[in-house]
C-alpha cells in the first residue's frame, strides 16, 4: 500500500512542473518586455492628457454625424 502511494509521486509524473515553470516564466518575461517597451515609447510621460482626450473622441464622432445628417436633409 505504502509503495503504491510513493509510486504515485515519482518525479517522472511531476515532470510537468518543469514545463509549467518555464511557461509561466516565459509569459512573465513577455509582459516584462511589453512594460519596458511601453515605458520607452513615452506612454508614462504624460499621465493626464490621454485621460481627457479619450472623452473627446465620442465628442468628435457625434459632431461629425450631426454634420452628415445636416447635409442629407439639405
Amino acid at each position: 500500500m505504502k509503495n503504491l502511494i510513493l509510486r504515485n509521486y515519482t518525479y517522472k509524473d511531476m515532470n510537468i512542473v518543469f514545463f509549467m515553470i518555464i511557461v509561466s516564466l516565459f509569459m512573465a518575461i513577455i509582459f516584462f518586455i511589453l512594460f519596458l517597451k511601453s515605458v520607452k515609447s513615452g506612454q508614462y510621460d504624460d499621465m493626464y492628457t490621454p485621460s481627457v482626450r479619450i472623452l473627446f473622441e465620442d465628442e468628435f464622432v457625434e459632431k461629425k454625424e450631426d454634420k452628415a445628417t445636416d447635409v442629407e436633409t439639405n
Partner: protein, 788 residues
C-alpha cells in the same frame, strides 16, 4: 454685472453682447466668433468660461518670419512638414486640450496638435508650404493661447527624458515577484521528496534573475558608496552597498555549494523597496522650471533699424554696439542703450524693484530688462547682451559654481554612526563565535551585515520628505527637491524683497486735498484720456466712467504733465513743480491737480501690501527678519511702523548689493531664506541657503530658485516653515523605529539563527511599517495646521 461668457471676468457696466451672450471685451467676443464659425463651440461645454482675452499682436511676431533666427525652435523640419513644441501658459482645463487638439479645423494647413497637459505644452505639426510659423503663432494668439517664446527656447538642447529609474524599478520588481514565488516551496516543505529533485532548477532560476537586480538595478548605490568613500564620507549608500554585496555573495555561495537557498528574495525585495522610495521622493512639477535665468525672460529677436531706415529682425546675440533698435509697445529692452527718440515709459519693476514706470527723454540711458509701455521708441546700443547691467549679474561666481552636495543630510549623518556600530557588532560577534564554534564565524558575521541593511532607515526620509513635498505642492509651494525641506528646517533668517514680494503688482490710488466735485472728476478724466503716460492710464481707469467731452488745447509736456481745457475750464495735471511751481522732497508718486489755476490736491499712487503680509512678520518672530528693496526710501517710515522693531530695512539695493548682503549674513553663520520675485533678486536667491520665488502666476517667468510659491499661499509661509520642522522630527522618530527592527534582527543574527525565512519576513515588515508610519504622521501634522 454679468460674467464674460468667454473668460469669466466681470464685465463692465456695458458688456459686449453677441449671440445673446455677454462678453467683457471685443477680444473675447472675437474668439467666440472664430470658434463658433468653425464648429468649435463645444469649447464652452466642458468648462465654464475657459478662455483668455487675446493679446493685441499686430507685428509682435514679425521676427518669426526670419527663418535663420527661429530654426532652432523647431523639433523637426523637412520640405513640407514642420513640427514645433510651444509652451502655452494659459493651458489649464479640458476645454483648452479640446480646442488646441482641434486646431486643424481652424486651419487646414495644421496637421495635428497634441497637448501635454501637465507640461502645458502643445506639439504642432503643420504644412510649412501652406502656413508660416508666424501665422501658426498668430492663430494661437488670436484664440487666446499665446505661446511663450523666449531666448531660452533657442538654446535648449533636445530634451531627453531620463527613464532609467523606472527601468531599474521594473527589473527589480519583476525579479522580486518571481523569486519570491520560486522561494516559497522551500520555506514550507523541506525534505519533501519531489521538491528535493526540483530544487536545483528553482535555485538556478532564482540566481539568474537576481543577477540583473544586483548589477543593474542596484548599481547606483555601489557608485554612490564608492564616491562617498573616496571623499571619506560614510553616506547612507555605504551600508546599503555593503548589505547588498554581502547578501549576494553569501547567497551565491550557499547556492553554488548547495548549503541552502540563499537570501535572494530579501535581496531583490530590498532593492525594489529602495528604488520605490527614490521614485516617490522624485516629485516633479513638469510645468515649472527652477533653473530659469534672464534668457527665459528675454525675447529671441529684435527689430534693427538700418542706416537707410529699413527695418529688419536680428537675433539678440547679434546686437552690436552702435546698432539702432526699434522697441515697440510692450516689448522688452534687450540691451543697455541710449534713447534716441520716442516717448519712453519704462517698467523696471522686474529688474530693479522700482514699482512705478519711469519716464525717460531722449539722451537718457536705458537699461536692459525694462519693458516699454507707451508706443514705439528708438534706441542706440551701448552694450551687447552679455555685458549689460542686468545680465552681468549672471557672471557672478554663484551662477557658474557647480552644484555640489556639500550639505550633509540628516540620513547621512546618522548612517555614519550606524555603519561604524554595525561593523563593530559584526567584529565582536565574529570574535565571540571564533572561540565558541569557529564554523559559525562566517555565518554570523555575514548575518549581522545582512540584518544591518538599513532598509527601513533608508526609506523613512524619502517617504516623509516626498509626502511633505506633495502636501506643499497641493498648497502651491513647489519645491525643487526633497533636500529643500531639510534646508528650510535649518533656516534662521528670513529676508524679503519688497516690490512684488511683500507688495502685489497692483497699485492703489487715493486722493488727498480739497474734495473734488463730480464735474471736476469728469473733466480730469477727459484730459487724462488724451495721455498715454502709464500713470494717466492708471488714474483714468480708477476714476468713474463719465461721458466723453471734447478737450481743447491739449498739451503734453514730456516728463512734467499734461494740460487741456474742458468746457472752458483749464485743467493742469502732473508733477509737483509743473502744477504747483515748487518741488518738495517727498518720494511719493503722485499726480497733482490744478483746476482753473487753483491747486486742488493730489492723487497718490501706492503699492498695495499683500493681505496679511504684516501678520507674517509677527508670526515669524523667532526668525531674524529683513527687507531688501530696490525701490527708494519712500515707504521706509511706513514699513518701520508696521514691522517688528528688529527687522532690518535696506533700500536702493542693486541686484548685486542684494547678493552680497545675503553673503554677509551667511558669513556670520546664518542660514538665510530669501523670498523674491524678480530678475533683480536672482543673485540673492541663488546665494541664499534657500531661495523661494514668489509668483502671482506660476506659469509665467520666475527666476531660478529652490522653490516657487504662489502669491496666494504667501500668507502660509510660517506654517510651511513649521511643517518642515515637524517633518524632520518625524524622520527622527522613524529612525528610532527602524533601529528597533535592526535590533531584533541583530538578535537572530548574533545567535546564528538568521534563516532565509526570518530575513524574508523581517525585511518587508520593517520597511512597510516605517513607510506607513511616516506617511500617516506627515499627513497628521499637516492636517493639524489646517492643511491637507
Amino acid at each position: 454685472m454679468p460674467d464674460c461668457f468667454h473668460c469669466g471676468a466681470k464685465c463692465d457696466s456695458k458688456p459686449v453682447i453677441f449671440d445673446s451672450k455677454p462678453f467683457c471685451c471685443n477680444g473675447c467676443k472675437t474668439v467666440y466668433e472664430i470658434l463658433n464659425e468653425n464648429d468649435l463651440s463645444c469649447y464652452y461645454d466642458f468648462e465654464q468660461a475657459p478662455g483668455a482675452i487675446p493679446e493685441e499682436i499686430k507685428s509682435k511676431y514679425a521676427y518669426l518670419d526670419a527663418e535663420k533666427i527661429v530654426e532652432k525652435l523647431y523639433d523637426f523640419v523637412d520640405e513640407e512638414t514642420s513640427v514645433i513644441t510651444f509652451y502655452i501658459p494659459h493651458i489649464h482645463c479640458s476645454s483648452c486640450i479640446w480646442v488646441l487638439e482641434n486646431l486643424h479645423r481652424l486651419n487646414d494647413a495644421i496637421v495635428s496638435g497634441i497637448v501635454n497637459f501637465p507640461k502645458k505644452e502643445i506639439r504642432i505639426t503643420f504644412n510649412n508650404t501652406k502656413i508660416s510659423l508666424r501665422q501658426v503663432v498668430e492663430l494661437l494668439s488670436s484664440i487666446g493661447y499665446e505661446p511663450y517664446i523666449s531666448l531660452e527656447d533657442t538654446a535648449k538642447a533636445k530634451r531627453t527624458v531620463d527613464r532609467t529609474l523606472i527601468y531599474k524599478l521594473g527589473v527589480a520588481g519583476f525579479a522580486f515577484g518571481n523569486i519570491m514565488l520560486l522561494s516559497f516551496p522551500e520555506y514550507f516543505q523541506t525534505n519533501e521528496f519531489w521538491l528535493e529533485h526540483y530544487k536545483p532548477l528553482f535555485r538556478v532560476l532564482i540566481f539568474i534573475m537576481a543577477l540583473p537586480v544586483v548589477f543593474y538595478s542596484a548599481s547606483e548605490y555601489f557608485i554612490s558608496a564608492y564616491k562617498g568613500l573616496k571623499h571619506k564620507i560614510l553616506n547612507i549608500d555605504v551600508p546599503i552597498a555593503l548589505g547588498v554585496s554581502v547578501l549576494f555573495i553569501r547567497s551565491a555561495i550557499e547556492i553554488i555549494f548547495n548549503f541552502g537557498q540563499g537570501y535572494f528574495d530579501s535581496l531583490t525585495g530590498f532593492v525594489f523597496f529602495l528604488l520605490l522610495g527614490k521614485i516617490f521622493q522624485q516629485q516633479t512639477y513638469s510645468f515649472l522650471s527652477f533653473e530659469r535665468d534672464y534668457k527665459s525672460y528675454f525675447p529671441i529677436a529684435v527689430t534693427k533699424i538700418n542706416k537707410d531706415q529699413t527695418e529688419h529682425t536680428i537675433s539678440i546675440y547679434d546686437i552690436k554696439k552702435g546698432d539702432r533698435l526699434l522697441i515697440r509697445n510692450e516689448e522688452l529692452i534687450p540691451v543697455d542703450g541710449i534713447l534716441i527718440n520716442g516717448n519712453a515709459q519704462i517698467d523696471y519693476s522686474f529688474v530693479t524693484g522700482e514699482s512705478l514706470p519711469v519716464s525717460k527723454k531722449s539722451g537718457d540711458k536705458l537699461f536692459a530688462g525694462g519693458k516699454q509701455l507707451a508706443g514705439a521708441i528708438e534706441m542706440e546700443v551701448l552694450q551687447t547682451v552679455s555685458q549689460s547691467y542686468l545680465t552681468q549679474l549672471w557672471s557672478n561666481d554663484i551662477f557658474t559654481k557647480k552644484q555640489t552636495n556639500t550639505i550633509k543630510t540628516l540620513t547621512d549623518s546618522i548612517s555614519k554612526r550606524f555603519t561604524i556600530i554595525v561593523l563593530l557588532i559584526a567584529f565582536f560577534a565574529g570574535v565571540f563565535w571564533y572561540f565558541n564554534d569557529a564554523s559559525m564565524v562566517a555565518n554570523v558575521v555575514t548575518a549581522v551585515l545582512i540584518v544591518a541593511c538599513p532598509c527601513a532607515l533608508a526609506l523613512s526620509a524619502p517617504f516623509a520628505l516626498g509626502n511633505m513635498l506633495r502636501i506643499f505642492g497641493k498648497h502651491k509651494l513647489y519645491l525643487k527637491n526633497a533636500d529643500v525641506i531639510e534646508n528650510l528646517s535649518n533656516v534662521d533668517t528670513v529676508i524679503f524683497d519688497k516690490t512684488g514680494t511683500l507688495t502685489t503688482n497692483k497699485t492703489t490710488i487715493f486722493y488727498e486735498g480739497e474734495a473734488l466735485s463730480t464735474d471736476e472728476k469728469q473733466w480730469i478724466r477727459n484730459v487724462l484720456r488724451e495721455s498715454n503716460h502709464p500713470l494717466s492710464r492708471m488714474l483714468y481707469g480708477y476714476l468713474e466712467t463719465s461721458e466723453k467731452i471734447k478737450v481743447d488745447n491739449f498739451k503734453e509736456i514730456f516728463g512734467k504733465g499734461i494740460q487741456g481745457e474742458v468746457n472752458k475750464n483749464k485743467i493742469k495735471l502732473g508733477s509737483e513743480d509743473f502744477v504747483k511751481g515748487n518741488k518738495s522732497d517727498t518720494l511719493q508718486t503722485a499726480i497733482f491737480i490744478n483746476i482753473n489755476n487753483r491747486y486742488k490736491g493730489k492723487f497718490i499712487f501706492e503699492n498695495t501690501y499683500r493681505k496679511n503680509s504684516m501678520a507674517i512678520f509677527q508670526e515669524l518672530k523667532e526668525y531674524k527678519l529683513g527687507v531688501l528693496s530696490g525701490d527708494n526710501e519712500g515707504e521706509k517710515e511706513y514699513l518701520k511702523e508696521l514691522l517688528p522693531q528688529e527687522t532690518i530695512l535696506a533700500f536702493n539695493q542693486k541686484p548685486s548689493d542684494k547678493l552680497s548682503y545675503i553673503k554677509q549674513l551667511q558669513e556670520s553663520n546664518q542660514n538665510v531664506l530669501m523670498l523674491g520675485d524678480g530678475l533683480n533678486d536672482a543673485g540673492a536667491l541663488a546665494q541664499s541657503n534657500v531661495g523661494i520665488a514668489v509668483s502671482e502666476n506660476t506659469n509665467v517667468f520666475s527666476p531660478a530658485s529652490d522653490g516657487i510659491i504662489d502669491a496666494g499661499s504667501f500668507t502660509w509661509l510660517p506654517d510651511f516653515l513649521k511643517l518642515t520642522k515637524s517633518t524632520l522630527k518625524i524622520i527622527k522618530i522613524s529612525f528610532v523605529l527602524s533601529f528597533l527592527y535592526n535590533f531584533i534582527g541583530m538578535f537572530f543574527a548574533v545567535t546564528g539563527n538568521l534563516s532565509p525565512i526570518v530575513a524574508a519576513i523581517l525585511m518587508p515588515i520593517s520597511s512597510i511599517s516605517v513607510v506607513i508610519f511616516v506617511t500617516i504622521a506627515t499627513n497628521f501634522v499637516a492636517k493639524r495646521i489646517r492643511f491637507a
